[in-house]
C-alpha cells in the first residue's frame, strides 16, 4: 500500500506539471492562430500569441493558488468549525490523523443531495466540502468512510491534479470557442480582402489551427474522464486502508446510490471532484458514456469482495438501476 500511494503522489505532481505545460503551450498556439485570423500579419500574430501565453500562465497560476476558493464558492459552501458542526469536524480530524496529513478546512453546502469533495493544491492547503444531505442521511461510521475517501484524495495529491484539470479544461474550451468564432465572423476574409493574405503557408496554419481548436476541448474532456474513474477506485481502497473498515464506506455508497436528490450546484466543470457523480443518469444534463465516475454498483462490489460478500447484481438491484 505504501508504495502505491507514494507512486500516486509522484504521478500526480508530474501530471499536474505536464498538464499545465501542455495547456499553456496550447494557449500559445491558439493565440497565434487567433492573432493570424485577426491581423493576418506576423508581428500581429506574435503579439496576440504573447497575450494568450500570458493569459494561460495567469489562469494556470490562478487555478493553482486560488482555484480551490473558486470551486468552493461555486459549490456555495460556507465554512464550519467545532462549535457549529462538532461531529463533522471531529470525523475530519480523525481521518487527517489516520492519513497523517494536516487538518484541512471544512465546509458545508446547504443541499439535501448527499455528496462531498476535497480540493486544494496540496495537503497543507486543502479543504473538504460536504453537503447537508450527507450529514443528515449518513451515520457516523458511514460519514467516516466518505471522509476517509476524501482524505485519500488529499494525501495522494489527487486534489491538485483534479483542480488544475477542472479550471484548465474549462479555459481551453473557452479559448477554442473564441478562436472558432473569430474565424466564423470573417476575421480571415476581411484581411484577405485587404490583400494581405499569407498565401499557402498561412492557409496550412489556419487549417491546423482550426483542427486544433475543434479537437482541444474534446481531448481536454477526455483527459478529465480518464483521470477520474481509476482515481475513485484507488481512493475507495485507500479509505478502507485508513479506517480498516470497509462497511462504513460500503453502506454510504449504497445509501447514496438509492438517493434521488439532485445536487444543483454541481456542473460539468466540477462534477469530477465529487464523491459520487452529482449528475444523475435520469437528469437531462447527464451524458452517459462521458461519465466521470465508475458505476456505484461496481465500487460497492469491489468493497464487498474485500469482506468476502457476494457481489450485488447490477441489473437485479431495485433502486440502483438508474445509477452511475
Amino acid at each position: 500500500m505504501a508504495t502505491t500511494f507514494y507512486h500516486q503522489i509522484a504521478a500526480n505532481k508530474r501530471n499536474s506539471l505536464l498538464l499545465s505545460t501542455v495547456v499553456i503551450a496550447l494557449f500559445a498556439v491558439l493565440g497565434l492562430a487567433i492573432g493570424y485570423a485577426w491581423t493576418a500579419s506576423g508581428p500581429g500574430s506574435v503579439f496576440v500569441m504573447i497575450g494568450a501565453l500570458a493569459l494561460g500562465l495567469v489562469i494556470a497560476g490562478g487555478s493553482y493558488f486560488a482555484g480551490d476558493g473558486l470551486v468552493i464558492s461555486a459549490s456555495q459552501a460556507h465554512p464550519v468549525d467545532e462549535t457549529t458542526e462538532p461531529q463533522l469536524v471531529n470525523v475530519v480530524r480523525e481521518m487527517s490523523v489516520a492519513a497523517n496529513v494536516p487538518m484541512p478546512k471544512v465546509y458545508i453546502t446547504e443541499d439535501s443531495a448527499p455528496n462531498a469533495f476535497a480540493t486544494g493544491r496540496d495537503p497543507k492547503h486543502a479543504s473538504v466540502v460536504v453537503t447537508r444531505g450527507l450529514l443528515d442521511k449518513l451515520d457516523r461510521e458511514e460519514l467516516q468512510g466518505v471522509l476517509a475517501h476524501e482524505m485519500s484524495h488529499v494525501r495522494n495529491y489527487d486534489i491538485r491534479y483534479t483542480l488544475l484539470v477542472g479550471v484548465l479544461v474549462g479555459s481551453i474550451a473557452l479559448l477554442a470557442d473564441m478562436f472558432l468564432r473569430s474565424v466564423f465572423w470573417g476575421g480571415v476574409g476581411r484581411s484577405r480582402g485587404r490583400g494581405e493574405g499569407g498565401g499557402a503557408g498561412g492557409a496550412i496554419i489556419m487549417v491546423l489551427a482550426l483542427m486544433l481548436a475543434i479537437l482541444a476541448p474534446i481531448i481536454a474532456r477526455l483527459v478529465q474522464l480518464a483521470v477520474s474513474r481509476q482515481r475513485e477506485y484507488l481512493a475507495d481502497a485507500s479509505a478502507v486502508d485508513l479506517t480498516r473498515n470497509p462497511h462504513g464506506l460500503e453502506r454510504a455508497l449504497e445509501k447514496i446510490a438509492v438517493d434521488r436528490e439532485v445536487l444543483e450546484v454541481a456542473n460539468r466543470a466540477t462534477q469530477h471532484l465529487y464523491f459520487t457523480n452529482p449528475i444523475k443518469k435520469w437528469e437531462e444534463r447527464s451524458s452517459g458514456l462521458w461519465s466521470t465516475h465508475p458505476p456505484i454498483v461496481e465500487r460497492i462490489n469491489r468493497l464487498r469482495s474485500l469482506t468476502g460478500q457476494a457481489p450485488l447484481d447490477r441489473d437485479g438491484v431495485l433502486g440502483l438501476e438508474g445509477l452511475d
Binding site: 471531529n90 480523525e94 481521518m95 490523523v97 489516520a98 467516516q144
Partner: protein
C-alpha cells in the same frame, strides 16, 4: 602503488558516506517514533481530562450503576499511572479504560433521559472522536516503530545501529478484541 592508494581512498570515502547516511536515517526514524508517541499522548491526556466530566454528568441519572462508574474512574487512575511505564504497559492500561468506557456507554443505553441530555451527548461525541484518534495515531505509531525496528535489525544498517546503541522499540499494542471487553450486567 598509486592506484592502490587511490582505491583505498575511494573505499574510505564510500564507507564514511554510508555511515553518515545510515546514521542520519536511523536518527530520523527514531525521531518519527517520538513524534508519533507524542501524538498518542496528547489524545490519551485529552481522554483522561474528559472522563471526570462524563462521570459527573451521568452520576445523577445512573445512581444504581455505581460499580460501572467506579470501574471507569479506577481504570482512568490506572491508565494515568501507567503512563510512566512505557508504551507496552500503557497500552494494556489504556485498553482496560477503553473497555470500561464501552461498558458505561452500553449501560447508558438503558437510560432514555441520559440519551436526551445534550451535555452527555456532546461528551460522548468528544470521547468517541478521541478514542478513534487514539486508534489511528496508534496505527501510525506502530507503522513507524516497525520501520525503525526493521532497519536496525537488517544488514547493512544493523552495523551502524549496533555501533551507536540503537535499541528496539516497543509497539503500542492493538486494541482488545470485542470478546475481551468486560461483560456488562444489565438490570
Amino acid at each position: 602503488m598509486e592506484l592502490f592508494l587511490l582505491i583505498l581512498v575511494v573505499v574510505a570515502i564510500v564507507a564514511v558516506g554510508f555511515f553518515i547516511l545510515t546514521y542520519n536515517g536511523l536518527i530520523q526514524r527514531r525521531l518519527r517514533i517520538d513524534e508519533a508517541l507524542g501524538q498518542i499522548e496528547v489524545q490519551l491526556k485529552r481522554r483522561h481530562d474528559l472522563i471526570p466530566n462524563l462521570v459527573n454528568a451521568v452520576k445523577g441519572y445512573m445512581e444504581f450503576e455505581q460499580d460501572v462508574l467506579t470501574r471507569v474512574t479506577e481504570a482512568r487512575a490506572n491508565a494515568i499511572a501507567a503512563g510512566a511505564r512505557g508504551p507496552a504497559e500503557q497500552a494494556v492500561a489504556e485498553n482496560q479504560l477503553t473497555g470500561a468506557l464501552r461498558s458505561l456507554f452500553a449501560v447508558a443505553e438503558n437510560y432514555p433521559q441520559l440519551k436526551a441530555n445534550e451535555n452527555v451527548l456532546a461528551l460522548q461525541e468528544q470521547l468517541t472522536t478521541t478514542e478513534n484518534q487514539i486508534g489511528f495515531s496508534r496505527q501510525h505509531y506502530n507503522a513507524v516503530v516497525l520501520d525503525y525496528n526493521t532497519s536496525i535489525a537488517t544488514f547493512p544498517s544493523n552495523l551502524v545501529a549496533g555501533m551507536f546503541g540503537f535499541i528496539k522499540r516497543e509497539f503500542f499494542d492493538a486494541e482488545p478484541e470485542a470478546d475481551q471487553v468486560p461483560a456488562v450486567q444489565l438490570r
